[in-house]
């Protein structure tokens, strides 16, 4: 199309899918009331930042009169209720980040039936009734890390796998990406357990793996905090850190740069929160959008990490971000 709306760097129309939301379908005069059902604002520091990115993007647009952020707190039933409450308040657009692939389906259907456009991101849904969908794809994320290990190990060796929260769709998808990357290689998973994306559980698991058998060629970690924990275990025992996967997180970048180990940081930016708001704004402004977008960028190498790394910000800053310098400083500055 003539003028593509740029939702976020790295977000592109899904190849081979030409469904569009026609221009002016949801056009409305401002000020708008935009609602967002977030799957869990306080699940971890990434989810907090994603909420901030959304709020910040909404604030930047003077036509957004009110931005309502509801927190499902990782509960499916709360998410169903939250979407119902947003519809009851007659918002102009609803942004949903689903708790699970089905938790938002009924709400999405209801909202769309009520004439409210629905944008879905950060999490898959089973329904396709939504208006616009932006998917990062955990599977891609896991595969980027898997491919890195396959390449580093020359297609042969033993790895550990640190997984996220059991039964969480993101964990399942990332793991599926790993499995795909390993297909046809001689890489064996010799130890695997849930570190729940947390530093302490990750460390417990990694310590148990290490003390059981420290011989390992590579580590696939489903999240940055667990990577940091596992690196600390090796450091603690004075052992060399094998190739280990990371994530676009400032704390991890610092440790990566300092130790110079072999790693890769697949990209999954909290800026998606802003992308969702930008999509809602575009719809209300009457701009045409694709129905489906994908967000599958290449992983970051250490050079890219060095460029992004901010020693003046805290370990809990995630990249890429569209927060203003001022916001970054106030949220993450080491004062």
């Amino acid at each position: 199309t003539a003028q593509e709306v740029n939702l976020m760097n790295g977000v592109t129309a899904r190849p081979g899918d030409d469904q569009m939301v026609a221009a002016d379908t949801f056009k409305k005069a401002g000020p708008w009331k935009i609602g967002m059902s977030h799957f869990g604002v306080n699940a971890n520091t990434w989810t907090v930042q994603m909420a901030h990115e959304a709020e910040s993007a909404a604030k930047k647009n003077s036509n957004v009169g009110q931005f309502i952020l509801l927190d499902a707190n990782l509960s499916q039933s709360k998410q169903v209720a939250d979407i119902e409450d947003l519809i009851a308040q007659k918002v102009d657009a609803i942004i949903v980040t689903p708790v699970t692939p089905t938790s938002a389906d009924a709400g999405i259907a209801k909202a769309v039936a009520a004439g409210i456009p629905v944008i879905v991101h950060t999490g898959l849904t089973e329904t396709d009734k939504y208006t616009v969908d932006i998917q990062g794809g955990g599977k891609h994320f896991g595969k980027v890390m898997g491919d890195f290990l396959v390449q580093k190990l020359g297609g042969k060796g033993n790895i550990w796998v640190l997984r996220g929260y059991p039964a969480h769709p993101e964990d399942i998808n990332r793991y599926a990406g790993l499995v795909e990357a390993l297909k046809g290689t001689d890489i064996k998973i010799i130890a695997e357990d849930a570190g729940k994306w947390q530093y302490d559980t990750g460390k417990q698991v990694c310590e148990a793996f290490y003390l059981n058998n420290p011989e390992v060629d590579g580590i696939w970690s489903s999240g940055a905090d667990m990577s940091r924990a596992c690196m600390d275990v090796f450091t603690q025992y004075g052992a060399k850190i094998p190739p280990i996967t990371g994530e676009g997180n400032n704390g991890f970048f610092g440790q990566w740069i300092e130790s110079g180990i072999d790693s890769i940081a697949p990209e999954y930016g909290p800026e998606q929160g802003a992308a969702g708001v930008r999509a809602a704004v575009a719809l209300l402004e009457g701009k045409p959008l694709h129905k489906r977008y994908v967000y599958e960028p290449a992983g970051w190498d250490i050079e890219k990490a060095k460029a992004a790394y901010r020693s003046d910000l805290s370990a809990n800053t995630w990249f890429p971000s569209s927060l203003s310098e001022e916001e970054l400083k106030s949220f993450y500055g080491n004062n």
């Binding site: 971890n44 907090v48 059991p166 302490d200 148990a208 059981n212 080491n334």
Partner: protein
């Protein structure tokens, strides 16, 4: 039946189930992986549960006075936030520690006054306080998400005292302190009396309300201490704290033979906590995954509790 009446055997039935569980797990590990029966390795795992162990010290105290404390999760989260947010970046670490301990004392006091003086339900009061604290951290984290933990905390955490990891020494020292408090002080006598019969305690001149309040204040304080240890071990701020720690603290306490209104022993729950650590190691060594881990852990606690319960009901 008749043999149970023999004093030595009767005493045996009073051994907390946690001792049995611990011994069984140790033997299992020894059979599975003799190489892991190394003091250094075991100390590493024990170190992981030091925060839980410290929470348990407070928990066993309030449970002995027929109350309960579910607020530890909130206290730990707030302590973690205070240290990692950088709000008090300019403060001397000791001052920061004092602030955190003060928060623990304050939370314990609120719990204690509402439960002891106001006689509101302990479960709901401490649950609500925990929710408030978590909400407070969420609110603060909105303005400023938590960040790095000052290096000193990590250094202290990783230090060793005579070759033993510092957190372990610290936990053991606190346990010893609690054990002395309960066994050797008037306060300990008050706790035992209230646990046995609060009405009789009142008529015997035990300051019941005050004792319950103090028990809660101490539990709040210990939760803050646990928060400090936990924060030092994670070395980074977090916005969420799972409910497992509080639930495990109750389970370890009861597994240690301290049941509402009975017990006040420290070492039973101490080994209850160690059993949790050991169980994790054994299951991970066996390659048991999360679903199996949950089920097996549940089954083992249940069997231990049943074994204990049946023994106790037959005499």
């Amino acid at each position: 039946m008749a043999t149970l009446a023999r004093p030595s055997l009767r005493a045996l039935t009073r051994i907390p189930p946690s001792y049995v569980v611990f011994a069984v797990l140790l033997v299992t590990l020894w059979l599975l992986k003799p190489a892991m029966m190394n003091p250094n390795i075991l100390a590493t795992f024990a170190k992981q549960v030091a925060p839980l162990g410290i929470v348990v010290l407070g928990q066993l105290l309030v449970i002995s006075t027929r109350s309960i404390d579910l607020s530890a999760g909130g206290v730990i989260l707030l302590v973690n936030y205070l240290i990692s947010s950088g709000f008090f970046g300019a403060w001397h670490p000791l001052l920061l520690v004092a602030l955190c301990l003060g928060v623990g004392l304050l939370v314990g006091t609120v719990n204690g006054l509402l439960i002891g003086k106001r006689r509101a339900s302990a479960v709901i009061v401490t649950l609500a306080v925990s929710i408030i604290l978590m909400g407070f951290v969420e609110y603060l984290a909105n303005g400023k998400p938590p960040g790095n933990v000052p290096m000193v905390f990590r250094n202290v955490y990783n230090a060793r005292v005579l070759g033993v990891p510092a957190p372990l020494v610290f936990w053991f020292a606190l346990s010893l302190g609690m054990s002395v408090l309960l066994a050797k002080t008037v306060f300990g006598r008050f706790v035992a009396s209230i646990g046995s019969n609060p009405v009789s305690a009142h008529f015997a001149g035990v300051p019941v309300e005050r004792t319950v309040v103090i028990a809660h204040v101490m539990a709040g304080f210990l939760a803050a201490v646990a928060g400090l240890v936990q924060t030092a071990s994670i070395a980074v701020g977090s916005v969420r704290f799972g409910p497992e720690l509080v639930m495990n603290s109750i389970a370890a306490t009861i597994l240690g033979g301290v049941i509402f209104g009975r017990g006040a022993g420290v070492w039973g729950p101490f080994f209850g906590v160690l059993s949790f650590a050991l169980l994790f190691v054994v299951l991970t060594t066996l390659g048991v995954q999360e679903p199996g881990k949950l089920a097996v852990q549940g089954l083992i606690i249940l069997l231990a509790a049943i074994f204990y319960g049946v023994r106790n009901s037959t005499h």
